[in-house]
Structures are given as structure tokens and as C-alpha cells.
Amino acid sequence: MDKMPKWADVVLIPLISLILAAILSALVILGIGEDPVAAVNMMVSGALGSTYGWGYTLYYATNFMFTGLAVAVAFHARLFNIGGEGQAMLGGLGVALVCLYVPWPHWTIALLAACAASMLFGAIWAAIPAYLQARRGSHIVITTIMFNFIAAAFLNYMLVNVMRPVGSMDPATARFNESVHLPTLHELLAPIGINFSKAAPANVSLLVAVLACVVVWALIWRTRLGYEIRAYGHSETGALYAGISPYKITMIAMLISGALAGLMAINNVMGEAERLVLNSTEGAGFIGIAVALMGRSHPFGVFLAAILFGFLYQGGAELALWTNIPRELIVVIQALVILFTGALDNMVRMPLEKIFLALRKGNA
């Protein structure tokens, strides 16, 4: 832990990883005969150059904040929850049920109810793998990823056979009622004189996501439960010795994690689509893993990493719109960033640690 100064761990490593990913992406773009500088320009101006671009960037970022926090909380208890995708799908089902079948008088009440429903559904979906891990020792990585498939199949069944309006070809629910429409950033900022783009889907859920970041921070570092979660994550035997129940911590950490992943549905289902479609999560559950890794499981890091990935998503969409870079290559660019910041973390970390160690020895 103290091989490197804190700033190197938090800032330098992600930065170097990003630069490496950018260099490789530039080579890929060069390889297909396009201009990487123009492409980067287009991504930046498309994602950050207008309130419209920001609106989409923040919309994607909101999704990633929720799923990133979900993964981060589980990480602290050394549980690898890769079921965020399925938990978010079920969260979407909860939101759809609440929004479709209850006539809400005002969006604020509907939002509270939708939050509760999405968290409940997400938590239930995480509870089963958590129980299997805590009581039966079934590895959480295996069970959560399997539950993603079960969630997809279940949602498919619900949408195709139960919730699809008669005569509709789309496996999707009907549109939600106007009264549960969440205000977009345009509607929120207009009264204070800021003219935010009307077309962008970023909505009030962004504030909920930021609030969730603060709450998770307080939970992990300012409460007894958070201390127990971290203690368990650092050393199971140590925690056991201190009287912390592994069963309790596993269950609670996973329930919180699932609830946070499910909460994402207020953004993509209630805020953007205003109906439940089959593939509403669109991989955000998996991006959450990269976001949590890059953010070093700290809520503020998750916040920043989520915005970075939001930028990549929106910038990628702009590339697809205005250039003839094929969409597969845009996925490649996004994947390179995930690879370098998430999976290949140690590739940058180990040499850096050696350098810092050598420097320290030189000083000593």
C-alpha cells in the first residue's frame, strides 16, 4: 500500500493507462486510413462541446455512476459483483411496474416509489447469489454472471408474453404516463436562466446519482457498518476474530450493491426511454466494473471515471454519426480504454512501483 505516494496511485496510474489506450486507439484509427486527430476533435466537441453533448455524456455517466458504485461497495467486502447488468435489468422491471400500473399524482412521489422499487428488485436479484456465497460457498463471480442470463431470459419472457401491448411488434412495454416524466436538465435549468439542450436525455437522476456517491462515501468511511465491510474485505479471518459475521457482511454488502445497480433504472428506463425495452441496460452493468476499478472503489473516483466513460460513449456515437469509422472499431476504442484502465492495471502499476521504490532507495 505504501510503495507509492497516494497521488501516484490515484492520478498517475489512471492517466498513464489512458494515454496508452489513446496511443493504441490512434494507431487503430490510422490503420483504417482515418485521421486520429480529427477523430479526437470530433469526440471532444461532440461530447463536451455543447450542452447537447454534455446532456448525453452525463446521461451515460449517470448510469455508470450507479453501476460503478454497486461494484465498488461489493469490492470493499472483497466480493466481485459482476451481476450489475442483471440487477439493473430487474431494477428496470421494478420501475416499469411502478410507473405503468400506479397513477402517480406527481413525478417526485413517482421518483421516490421508483427508487424504492428499483432498489428492492435489484437487491432481491443480488440476494440469491449472496446467500449462495455466504452459506454454500458458491463463488459469487460465477453465480452473479449466471444471474445476468437468468435476468435477461426473465425480462424477455415478461416483455414478450406479459407486458407487451397487444399488436405491438417491439418487445417493450407501453409508454409510461406523462405524470411520471422526470424533468430533464433542460427543464431543471431553464428557471435559473441556463438554456440547456432540450434534446439531451440527462435528467434529475443525475442528482440522485451524485447523492448516491455521497451516501456511499459516508457509509463506507463514516459508519460502523462501512468499517465492518472494509475490515471483512481486508481480512476475513481478522474480521471474524473481531466478531464480525462473514454471513451478515456478505449479505449486506451484496444487497446494497444490488440495490445501487437496480437504482440505475430510474435513469435509463424512467428518465430516458420512458418505457421498458428489452436491452435497456446496454452493458452499463459491465462498464460499472471498469468504472469501479478505475475509480479505485472510491465514490469520487467512480464519479470521475463514470464521466470519462460517458464521454467515451457519447464521443463514440458522434464518431459513428459523422465519420465512416465502422461501429465495430468504435467498440474497439472503448474496449481499449476499459482494457488498459481495468484489466491491465498492473501492467502500469508494477513498473511504477519499482520506479518509486528505486527512487526511495536512492534518497535513503
Binding site: 485521421d35 470530433m42 424477455n156 411488434m169 418487445p171 434534446a199 446496454e282 454519426l321
Partner: protein, 332 residues
């Protein structure tokens, strides 16, 4: 691709100054992708033909995600693209939300006929009529008296295809056995050639010796397996006869390319409203070329051409699955 290449520089400038009026048409491909050898590719071919003939250029995007549907519509409309052409029924919902915000932009919706907006050209195809003709050919070419149907995603549209096919087959041979399978219930079913291949094998084991694939990219697997196993297949949307010359009996043409070509040709002066493209409008039909000429005898050709004329004249009515959500000739 090359025609877009010259646009690369200009596109950068446009992205920076989005809103500049450029009356270029734009084409939005559905999630299946531009080169699905079927529905989306037909649209691309129509657009390419227009570009080659007029020297014009068009914008295009292959959608990656659901959130991009509305985004792409708005971005193209704001950049001044006109008309904005969309592929597939899944665009109906985003179109209904977006179209009213851009009254000066004309939108084209292929496979959508139920929206209520003054600036959308909605194009529906009489797939049951075209499928009826290939159904007749299938029953006439079949020696076993069993014909197969492999659908993509199980939605009313695909049942509509299958229903026309079954009626055509039964018109030729009332005792014909029709084996119908759907690949799946999700959009993934449009692009699952492996499953298509398995279903084809299963249908062969049930005696089918002609299989009709109405399944987008999944159909590639159906046609491949049929060719490998020595039976005949029928392609869909684009002319797929050339994929396995002499092994593909015919293709049910859905002239999406013509619809896209016409829309681009009309440009900003596009007529809006609901358009139905049937046999009379040559919106659907069956493919006859050098690749399948030896498979279609003069008799078969005469019978199908007579039926075609009867349908156009109104003497023969092919029941549409949409009429009461059921099919008189086959159960799905």
C-alpha cells in the same frame, strides 16, 4: 464506403458547426447492421444506387444502442439532413417522439404504417403477397410434399410472411405439410445463423426439402445448411440467389432498395403519408436470374405469373395475418 471517404473532412466541419443546412439525405440502419445481406443491406444498395446515379452523397449510421435511435434522428434532423430514412419497426416509437419537433424535415419509415404525423413517409410492404408466390414455387419444387419456414424474431410481421407462404403452398398442393419455426423472441434472432442452421437441419429431418428463411442475417445459416444438405432454400428481402447458385430456389424480394432509392431521389420534395408497396407497385416479388433459372420450369413460372396477375387484379386474395392475428393456412 468510398463516397463517404471524401466527406470525411467536410463531416468534421459539420460536426463542429452542427446546424448548417445541408440537404443531404441520411440513412439510419437498424441494429442488424449495414451488411446483413438482407433488409438493411437492401436499403444500403438503394442508397448506393442513388449516389452512383446522381453523384450525390448521403449520411449513414449503424445504430449501436437503443438510446441512439432518438439521438441519431435528432442529430441528422438538426444537421439539416433531409429526408431522414429509418429502417425497421423499432424506429416507430422514437419517430413518434421526434418528428413533431422538426416539422421541416421529412422522415421516411420503412416497415411502419401506423404513425400519425404529417412529415413522415411511412412505407409498408405486402410481404404476404410476395411470400404467397414463393410459397407456390416451394410447393411445386418440393418432391417430399413438405416445405419449411424459418422465421427470425417471433413478431406479427414475420408471421405475416409465413402466413402468405403457407397459403401459396397450399394453393398448389392442398396436402402440403408446412413446418414453421421461429428463431427466437428477441432481436438477437435476426442475427443468429447458427440457430438458423440447426432449425434447417431439424426441418430436413421432418421431411422438408424447400426451406424459406424470413430471418434477416439468420437466413445466411439457413441457406448455407440447405445448400450443404442438398435441399432448396428461398432467400428474403434482397435477391439472395447468388449466395449458392443453383441451390437457392428463389428469393422473396422486398424492394426496400427501391423505397430508399425513391425517397432519396425525391429529396426534400418527398411525398409523405402511408404507402403500401404490393405486387402491383412492384414493392414485392420473386427473384428470377441466371442463378436459379434452371430450377424454375416454364410451368412453374406460368403458374406464379398467373397468380401474380390475379392478385393484382383482385381476383385472388391473400389473407393478411394482421387482419385477425391468425393464419388460415398454418399455426405458428
Amino acid at each position: 464506403m468510398t463516397l463517404m471517404k471524401t466527406l470525411m473532412g467536410a463531416a468534421t466541419a459539420v460536426a463542429l458547426t452542427a446546424g448548417a443546412a445541408l440537404a443531404e439525405p441520411a440513412l439510419i440502419f437498424d441494429l442488424g447492421g449495414k451488411f446483413d445481406k438482407s433488409f438493411n443491406e437492401a436499403a444500403f444498395n438503394g442508397a448506393k444506387r442513388w449516389a452512383d446515379e446522381t453523384g450525390g452523397s448521403f449520411r449513414e449510421i449503424e445504430l449501436q444502442s437503443e438510446a441512439q435511435r432518438e439521438q441519431a434522428l435528432r442529430r441528422f434532423a438538426e444537421a439539416g439532413a433531409n429526408p431522414v430514412i429509418t429502417m425497421g419497426f423499432a424506429m416507430a416509437d422514437p419517430l413518434s417522439a421526434v418528428a413533431a419537433d422538426y416539422p421541416d424535415t421529412k422522415f421516411v419509415a420503412v416497415d411502419v404504417t401506423w404513425l400519425d404525423a404529417p412529415n413522415i413517409r411511412q412505407i409498408g410492404f405486402a410481404e404476404h403477397e410476395g411470400s404467397y408466390l414463393v410459397g407456390m414455387l416451394a410447393a411445386m419444387a418440393s418432391k417430399s410434399g413438405t416445405v419449411g419456414f424459418v422465421g427470425g424474431m417471433d413478431i406479427p410481421l414475420i408471421r405475416h410472411f409465413g402466413c402468405g407462404y403457407a397459403q401459396g403452398a397450399k394453393a398448389v398442393n392442398p396436402d402440403v405439410k408446412i413446418v414453421a419455426n421461429m428463431t427466437g423472441t428477441t432481436p438477437a434472432a435476426w442475427n443468429d445463423p447458427v440457430k438458423g442452421s440447426e432449425l434447417t437441419k431439424a426441418q430436413i429431418s421432418q421431411g422438408a426439402d424447400v426451406v424459406y428463411a424470413a430471418a434477416g442475417g439468420t437466413g445466411v445459416g439457413v441457406l448455407q445448411t440447405a445448400a450443404d444438405e442438398g435441399i432448396l432454400s428461398i432467400g428474403v428481402d434482397s435477391n439472395q440467389n447468388h449466395l449458392h447458385p443453383g441451390k437457392v430456389l428463389t428469393s422473396m424480394l422486398k424492394r426496400v432498395d427501391v423505397a430508399v432509392y425513391d425517397a432519396m431521389k425525391a429529396g426534400e420534395n418527398l411525398e409523405t403519408g402511408v404507402f403500401n408497396m404490393g405486387l402491383a407497385e412492384e414493392g414485392v416479388g420473386y427473384a428470377l436470374d441466371d442463378n436459379n433459372a434452371p430450377l424454375i420450369s416454364d410451368e412453374m413460372r406460368a403458374a406464379v405469373d398467373k397468380a401474380r396477375q390475379d392478385i393484382i387484379d383482385g381476383n385472388l386474395k391473400v389473407v393478411s395475418y394482421y387482419e385477425n392475428d391468425s393464419c388460415p393456412a398454418v399455426n405458428f
